[in-house]
């Protein structure tokens, strides 16, 4: 009895919390189907649904290419960063490679405002012909995302996981096989969470893309900032573009369900 009351209370709090998160987003959704005049009308009035904003962001602005570029860069960054982060975190957790100094070094590179580093990187890229390329953007994003993912994953390599790894080693696995056949699947919740954050960080990164990209490789944040013009914010277009921006979450949903919600039962350990 007491348990079910607790459950209901939990859901109640979660519903309120979800509402706080989602109501502003629904208001954005609503504004994406109206024009600026109606978006700002107080008290709000019902207005006929129009799709002009969605058409305009693709006809007047190259949002299709912003989307593709964002996907390529964020996906590329995540795919490359994740294994590297998993490897270095393993080395930190298991062998304490490089000691505290290396860990602190890795993190301290991220404590400097990106504005300061991006200009020298611009000069390097200029001479290497990396400006306005996917590769250049992905490399830049890896450097600012990798340290965080590495740190995040250290704590997921628990003693239990190393024990199972030991079993694999005595079963005849090489160090590397034990790492990717056993350890990586076992830290899947951590990897998914890290991958998600890596993707999000790259998806939203602004300064590096601004300086290092060009027309061909500009990502969504640049496109979105375009809508804040000197003649005012194109709020209806912005609402439409934002609505599309959060769509990738739908793609991520099955992964979330599989790895994060259930968690990985390590019940077989004991």
């Amino acid at each position: 009895m007491k348990k079910s009351i607790l459950k209901i209370l939990s859901h109640l709090i979660l519903i309120i919390f979800s509402l706080i998160i989602i109501l502003p987003l629904l208001w954005i959704l609503r504004n994406s189907f109206t024009n600026k005049l109606n978006a700002y009308k107080i008290p709000p009035e019902f207005s006929p649904i129009i799709f002009d904003n969605y058409i305009e962001i693709f006809s007047k602005y190259p949002f299709d290419s912003y989307f593709i570029n964002s996907f390529v860069v964020a996906f590329g960054t995540t795919i490359i960063s994740l294994p590297l982060a998993a490897f270095i975190a393993y080395a930190f957790a298991k062998f304490n490679t490089g000691g505290k100094q290396l860990r602190l070094f890795l993190l301290s590179t991220q404590m400097i405002p990106p504005i300061i580093i991006v200009l020298p990187i611009f000069s390097i890229y200029l001479s290497l012909n990396l400006l306005n390329t996917y590769l250049g953007l992905i490399i830049a994003h890896i450097t600012i995302i990798l340290p965080f993912l590495s740190w995040m994953l250290i704590s997921f390599y628990s003693r239990d996981i190393f024990m199972i790894e030991a079993a694999a080693r005595s079963d005849g696995a090489t160090r590397f096989q034990a790492l990717y056949l056993i350890c990586l699947p076992l830290i899947a919740p951590g990897l998914i969470a890290a991958g998600l954050l890596g993707f999000i960080l790259s998806w939203n990164e602004f300064i590096f893309v601004l300086i290092l990209s060009g027309k061909a490789t500009s990502t969504l944040p640049i496109g979105l900032s375009t809508l804040s013009t000197h003649r005012g914010v194109e709020i209806a277009l912005l609402a439409a573009a934002t609505t599309l921006t959060v769509l990738p979450a739908l793609i991520l949903l099955p992964f979330i369900k599989k790895y994060l919600i259930k968690g990985l039962s390590l019940g077989a350990l004991k």
């Binding site: 859901h11 998160i21 502003p24 080395a91 400097i112 300061i116 200009l119 990798l146 965080f148 912005l238």
Partner: protein, 292 residues
């Protein structure tokens, strides 16, 4: 004396570490050294040369700069409040999410959404919502007879508003990390504790917290660094105002680099900032090492 196996263990560690360290070093170390050097010169984008060595003048100027100190204090308040509130709220929500089984993915999906929205957009849309006359917030408040709130036009209120919007936007970051940590805790200790008659609170103190400690420390550490680097939100929402009530240090440095084009001074301020961050994070870092 170490034997071959120790050696090959260590070698394996180096092999796994090398790619990351290499990339980071190649891409970031040069810019950092560059800015370190430029901080000792009158190095501006207008006059890009290392001709005018001025020693530590940039640092002295920074220390004399009242605005900079104001920014540092504003940033410290901001970071502490944001990280603390987001952590408490995030941990609470993560625990709730971890305890339920139904509709979990729906909640999760919802809280993921704000993270996918660019901070610039977050700033713009919230500025619209919080418009004193034309925003939906004050309209809703007016329905229950509350006077229009001056969300961004009043120094104290603007600071609170920025913090609120940041929490709205970023609290999910905490939730995702903490929930991942929670889902990696084995179930057995809880079952054992419950059979020993422990209540929820005792389970939390004696099982959840100890298991979660490393994840908590890392989460706070990472969030702390991100919070210190926040600039887009104030750039969009307040431009650091009214007055200089929301003038975060990263935005200050941004202006010094891109508006004043004074890279040498911006670099000096960045390095001062770096030292401050390290001073703040080292206790956390030490604490974490003690856990191993």
């Amino acid at each position: 004396m170490s034997n071959n196996l120790d050696l090959s263990d260590r070698r394996f560690g180096y092999i796994l570490t090398a790619p990351t360290v290499l990339i980071i070093t190649l891409v970031i170390l040069f810019p950092i050294c560059f800015s370190l050097i430029s901080s000792f010169f009158d190095y501006t984008l207008i006059n890009k040369s290392f001709n005018d060595f001025i020693g530590i003048d940039n640092y002295i100027n920074s220390f004399k700069d009242e605005q900079l100190f104001n920014s540092i204090f504003v940033t410290i308040y901001f970071v502490i409040l944001v990280v603390l509130l987001e952590f408490i709220l995030g941990f609470f929500i993560a625990l709730l999410l971890n305890s339920i089984t139904r509709f979990k993915s729906i909640y999760y999906f919802i809280l993921l959404l704000p993270l996918l929205i660019n901070p610039i957009v977050v700033g713009l849309i919230w500025r619209m919502f919080l418009h004193p006359q034309l925003g939906i917030f004050n309209y809703l408040l007016s329905l229950i007879n509350i006077e229009p709130v001056n969300w961004l036009g009043d120094p104290q209120m603007a600071f609170i508003t920025i913090i609120f919007v940041d929490i709205w936007h970023q609290v999910s970051f905490m939730i995702i990390l903490l929930l991942a940590g929670l889902s990696a805790i084995p179930k057995e200790p809880y079952e054992a504790a419950k059979s020993d008659g422990a209540n929820i609170y005792e389970c939390f103190i004696h099982i959840t917290l100890p298991y979660m400690r490393p994840v908590i420390v890392v989460t706070i550490l990472i969030r702390l660094i991100f919070a210190i680097k926040t600039y887009d939100l104030v750039y969009i929402m307040t431009k650091g105002g009214p007055g200089d009530s929301t003038d975060l240090i990263s935005y200050y440095i941004y202006r010094s680099a891109f508006i004043s084009l004074n890279l040498g001074e911006a670099a000096a301020m960045s390095l001062i900032l770096l030292v401050i961050i390290i001073i703040i994070t080292i206790p956390l870092f030490k604490y974490m090492n003690r856990l191993d």
